[in-house]
Symmetry: C3
Subunit: 460 residues, 3 copies
């Protein structure tokens, strides 16, 4: 079969080439920042740091580990719901993320910590790299089952770059706040992924339709992903906030939003089913929308009930999206969105950006306190001399910039991915692990034979 031959050397070659490039670029550019360098022992004195225990490591590491789990286990297992594509889901997510974090350390390093010819790595760099890769995991959800691992690596290469550019524009030029990445990660990642999948539209995808669904245990594996994403989202939304009250508040806001979101996702899932039954797709995905939607404003003064409202609305919109919008987009706009990322990252990402804009615009001295207001919007560093209204406008601008970057970037990358040498699977071979993986030989029926353990049932 042609596709087998095509992939034969492309995957090893691509992996080795990309990794060699990483080694070379890291050797030229990447060093440890002062908190991870042995000169820390001496430098502490100059910086009036009295104890090793003040190393930023201790104040970022727990959040970092949670974000890391979300990227590799959360996204990885969430996408194992497909009955015969679980190996590829978790395995390719692993691959693209392992490459993506390295390339992101470089790209984001060039944009943010480049000094005297070097990029300086600290724990905050690792967190930001995981954030960047998060947007690639989001986009992967749209094309899941329809692309080769080589295409995924190429997509990662470009998407990480675009992410870094977009992030720079938003955070450093427009000076917006986006703690949990509703705009930079979710909105950008979702519309990028949807554009790519639109570019890669397959009119004959129904040849593989029978595999584009779950079986009982693949749905349970996916719930592992769902739960780790849900539980650790407070860490995600607070990971790069200012130390102190901002991180503390971001955790509380996210926790509240996610809790409310579960209730309304369940409600809508049941209400929209003709017999009132729940749909695992909604429980796996829509329950997370609250985390996305509260991302930008998590560190702001949403108030706990404000967070509940955001979650309440997100669960409803997300579930409506799964039931009505995704089929519509597939039938009428040729957007084949395998995981329904538009409903979890697209629409809730937009909500997040809007909420952020509104919350920033309505920030005031009474609610934040003078120093609190300055601290929350980086006014004290003299970075900006804006009114809160103006800040709100810039926040809103961030949404549009992210969408524009996603659409244009997704279009270009889509064109690149259509090139005939990335070993893309044929229409009848989508959602099929067999193409890429050596598959186990036996069927999976395990049962008990009390008197003869050497015999087991093999269903014909």
């Amino acid at each position: 079969m042609m596709w087998n031959t095509n992939l034969r050397w492309r995957l090893p070659f691509t992996c080795l080439l990309l990794e060699l490039a990483m080694v070379v670029l890291f050797s030229l550019f990447v060093r440890y920042d002062f908190e991870a360098d042995p000169h820390w022992t001496e430098e502490k004195k100059y910086r009036h740091i009295t104890s090793d225990l003040e190393n930023d490591f201790y104040y970022r590491y727990p959040s970092f580990q949670d974000v890391h789990v979300m990227i590799f286990v959360g996204f990885g297992f969430l996408m194992t719901f497909l009955q015969r594509y679980s190996f590829s889901a978790v395995g390719f997510n692993f691959l693209l993320a392992a490459f993506g974090i390295q390339w992101a350390l470089l790209m984001q390093g060039w944009f943010h910590t480049f000094q005297d010819g070097y990029i300086f790595l600290g724990l905050e760099s690792l967190i930001n790299a995981d954030f960047c890769v998060g947007s690639v995991c989001v986009a992967f959800g749209a094309v899941l089952g329809k692309v080769s691992p080589v295409q995924l690596l190429i997509m990662t290469l470009f998407q990480v770059t675009l992410f870094a550019v977009n992030e720079f524009i938003l955070l450093n030029v427009l000076l917006v706040k986006d703690a949990g990445g509703s705009m930079t990660i979710h909105t950008f990642g979702a519309y990028f992924g949807l554009t790519v999948t639109w570019m890669l539209y397959r009119p004959n995808l129904q040849k593989s339709k029978e595999r584009q669904s779950s079986v009982y245990h693949s749905d349970l594996f996916a719930m592992i992903g769902t739960l780790f994403l849900w539980m650790y989202w407070p860490s995600f939304n607070s990971a790069v906030s200012n130390h102190g009250d901002a991180q503390h508040r971001a955790v509380i806001n996210t926790y509240c939003s996610l809790a409310a979101c579960v209730l309304t996702s369940v409600a809508l899932s049941s209400a929209l089913h003709k017999k009132g039954k729940l749909d695992m797709v909604h429980i796996q995905n829509a329950t997370l929308a609250g985390g996305v939607a509260v991302g930008t404003a998590a560190e702001m003064m949403l108030m706990p009930y404000g967070s509940l409202i955001i979650g309440f609305i997100s669960g409803i919109i997300s579930t409506l999206g799964f039931v009505y919008l995704t089929p519509f987009l597939e039938a009428h706009m040729h957007i084949q969105d395998t995981c329904g990322i538009h409903n979890l990252h697209g629409l809730p990402g937009l909500i997040g950006g809007i909420v952020g804009a509104v919350t920033a615009a309505s920030a005031n001295l009474q609610v934040y306190g003078q120093e609190g207001l300055a601290h929350a919007f980086d006014l004290e560093s003299g970075k900006t001399n804006r009114t809160t209204d103006l800040q709100g406008s810039f926040q809103a601008a961030g949404i549009f910039v992210s969408i524009a970057m996603a659409l244009v970037g997704g279009g270009v990358v889509g064109i690149i991915l259509k090139l005939p040498f990335w070993a893309q699977p044929a229409d009848e071979n989508c959602f099929e692990d067999e193409i890429y993986w050596e598959m186990p030989e036996k069927q999976e029926t395990i049962s008990s034979h009390p008197e003869n353990p050497a015999l087991k049932t093999v269903a014909p």
Copy 2:
């Protein structure tokens, strides 16, 4: 079928109503505490706090995340052992916990942090809310498979309230210590759940008996739950202890007790089987009993060997319970305890309360030091002027109060749950996901066909 029609709108309606109530109540009552409020930037000065790094967030968050995983993944997956009820187990646990933590923030807030008309949320509130919901997860184990999600939400509504009342009586009135909740969470939760299941006794449950067991892979999913509960229990038992040596000691005591418990659970499981084989039910559940039993006294001076002894005994009692007591209770007392919660939370919870009473009574100056003793039993805050003997008596009283609250509360809630409009499943439809969930269509046999990936085996 009648039950389908009954549930049709009840679940969406209940979820939306409860969530709207949460939004309204949070808007009226819930605010951030000073460590999560932007005024922290100014307030630090008044409180002589020099650094953002002293925010309590950093000293409670790692424990909080572990407790959160225990509630959602630990309990959620532990209950997936049933062959056709895994969706409901993990999904309904998700639902009741997401609602429960919100209602608990209110209930516990009214009891503990209510000031000037507001409840003040900080990370310790989130931990305590998870603790409260833990008792509901415990009770869920008794009724698992036999109730509708609407009944679970109603049960959560009442149980959270009863928990908060009981907790207040024990911790604020009787002034007992119960770090890991052996009394407030496990004893209370277990006897409440057993009373509810007794009230909901089904004489014809054998119609569903064939589904009240596991299959090979559902037992493995349950082990995910077991292991996350086991590994993170030290965080659970130390999460709300005093900072410093108390948290450090609680972790060590729990770790030791759980380790010993595994050895004796395995020993008894094998010894009580006629061929010496192990039973997964015991390995999934009895191995955790040590964590429950050392809960109350975890922060006390049990000494590491004392913790080992507690774990040693708990593993034995728990396994004996699974083998002999649960079947007895079912046959002779009409207590149909699906998960055997009496053996993991009931009996070990009682052990925990007793151990706590004895350890408190035997506390002395030599072991604790003068300041240590005052600090460990809150004597220094002037809260109590008791002798250690008297403290021990109060600790014991706490056990009885918890049981009484559980039995009475469970009785009342059981009556409420018997009302005919909660869409309870019929006797022949228990332990069956199909009633509540849209089920995957294909059978689950995955195998390899080297030359034709589009063909897969479907067992007839």
Copy 3:
């Protein structure tokens, strides 16, 4: 069947005897260290510690929890890949680790914290005990499926002792650094396990060969183990490093090495397959080799690109090992290495030791700074007055000592395990859970029957 009768009382008896021994020894020897003792409240003053928040608990606990997850979930689930041995894999790992950590607390305590007749436990003790047990989990991988749980407990008993002796020689006598245990855990554990499995060689193992492979979902369960090991390895390699820059740097180095390793493991797995397909065994195991190989030098100035290079090479060597070396060792040297531990822990462990030796030898003032160099190699404590070249030689000696201890110790333990009363399974009963576990009765085919939920398909 003879083996059933043999095991009948041996397992309970062994477990109870070992646990009683633990209780007795802990009562004689084990106490809390000063940071977990209530006298901490008074002692803080003497040690000029101003706050409870300086308790070492807060600076070691997050790492400890991650290491704990790696031991119980990481190793436990990684070994569930065998189609009918998942219960034993995760269950026996649980058992041997729960016993191992207790025995390790004693053994390592006698060697490291023994003072005035007592062993003093703190969080660092718990981390080190988990490290020690890690080497037993490694060895378990070599004999997986071919030994009884009684043999595993005996192996643990001896291996923990040998580990403690080897660790003492390396860290306290030779004064080498081995932060992530490339030598003490991985090299030692692997060659010990390989020696034991060589001693227990079964010429007729092919009778069980059909069960020595995976099925689709067991491979997914194994990926849970893989990912938790991969994600938390930075904690493992930094858990006992000096506070401050050393821990921060160890995390960054491990993260980089593991990322590179994934790319080259995928590349080689595909390249070495005649159709370019990936092999789950490689993705489950070889992707972790980078963490092992960077273990010793993780806290040293590898530089980020140096870590990438180590990971790059490790992924290649590990995958080559799985494809060529393991079958060769089985066919020609009678080493039946069930999990291929030589490729994940043996060879990468050697790489780790070598890298550590080279990195130590090339350490210099310019790279580390004067105080940094002293701090990194414990020179300041006056422990050693060596040049860096000499330190490098000692590091290399550490590799040889570990291998020697493993080979000799493994030989002796292998002889002990061949004694006929440990209930070893017969050749035709290997890789079979049925011998040790009560197995679920039903076959595992779950599907939907929309109109009759009480009926489910049972494949014949």
